[in-house]
């Protein structure tokens, strides 16, 4: 009888314990997303100064179809020199869109920062990494290649005066100021300026120069 009571008590405790558990709803499932396919157009482009603010390169990609609102899709576009395996990519992040464009100015900045020779046609590669907004479930697209060249964006120089003169007695007085717009205006690095001069007709074959400095846009001189 004692054994029976002991067994019955254990069963009763187990039943009560199970009855006290609360069954939760199924955990939400966020799928891993689909592979995305990237494409670029055009595959070769030669932007000019007039394209500084215009889109010259357009990327589009397929949807990863994450289980969230498309506005929460995150895409990071990576661009790097061809064959570098994206070791030093420049990136652009977009949310919710299945495409992105680059202006001529943006691409010029990228090319100048990589140190490519001005005007040289170079091969670059791009890919897109998709993810949820919190960077989960990253998917890397295929790599697309394209060729592009940088363009010159010269400063525009203006002189306060077109003719100057002076005397020995007033040699220390102000004579002229030169101003100029910034060169390579979409370039994010530092630009060093110098003022070069030569007699008219020499075509600056052996120019003389005055160092101005970094990111400067004006310099003044006295008569002397």
């Amino acid at each position: 009888m004692k054994k029976f009571l002991k067994f019955f008590s254990l069963v009763a405790v187990a039943v009560l314990g199970l009855a006290a558990c609360e069954k939760l709803d199924d955990l939400p499932y966020y799928n891993l997303g689909n592979d995305i396919t990237l494409s670029v157009a055009p595959s070769s482009v030669t932007p000019t100064l007039q394209d500084t603010s215009s889109n010259v390169l357009n990327f589009s990609w397929t949807s990863p179809k994450y289980a969230t609102d498309t506005a929460n899709y995150k895409f990071i576009i990576q661009i790097d020199s061809a064959g570098k395996n994206f070791a030093n990519p420049t990136t652009k992040t977009v949310m919710g869109s299945l495409g992105a464009s680059y202006t001529g100015g943006e691409m010029n900045n990228i090319l100048l920062n990589y140190g490519f020779a001005l005007g040289a046609t170079v091969s670059l590669e791009a890919r897109v990494i998709s993810s949820y907004g919190n960077n989960n479930e990253q998917r890397t697209s295929n790599t697309v290649g394209f060729t592009i060249s940088s363009f010159d964006h010269p400063a525009i120089l203006t002189s306060e005066n077109t003719a100057v003169t002076g005397t020995l007695a007033t040699a220390g007085d102000h004579s002229n100021t030169f101003n100029w717009t910034s060169a390579f205006q979409t370039y994010t690095g530092n630009v060093t300026y110098e003022l070069q001069y030569d007699a008219a007709g020499n075509s600056f074959a052996s120019p003389h120069s005055v160092s101005v400095g970094v990111n400067m846009n004006t310099i003044s001189f006295n008569q002397g």
Binding site: L112, N176, F178, G189, E194, Q196, F204
Partner: protein, 82 residues
């Protein structure tokens, strides 16, 4: 400004045109030149009179010996001494 003209080869007490441009260089070495602007510059003789005081004139500061400018092109603005 007169110095630019003289260095560019424009004679003293003359008028000549000097061209100017901006050279811009990025940190990675890309170089760009601005369009040229011209400035007409009228020069003067950029030289002060020099005087000598010494035993040959009795060390009289009020009666110094004026040194003569040599305006020959190959000697102008140069100092020779021995």
């Amino acid at each position: 400004m007169i110095g630019f003209a003289l260095i560019s080869g424009i004679a003293a007490n003359a008028t000549g045109v000097v061209e100017f441009r901006i050279k811009a260089t990025t940190a990675q070495g890309a170089v760009s030149y601005s369009p040229v602007v011209t400035v007409s510059i009228t020069t003067y003789l950029p030289i002060q009179k020099m005087y000598l005081v010494g035993g040959m004139q009795g060390w009289d500061i009020n009666n110094p010996l004026e040194m003569i400018n040599d305006a020959k092109p190959d000697r102008f603005n140069k100092i020779f001494y021995s």
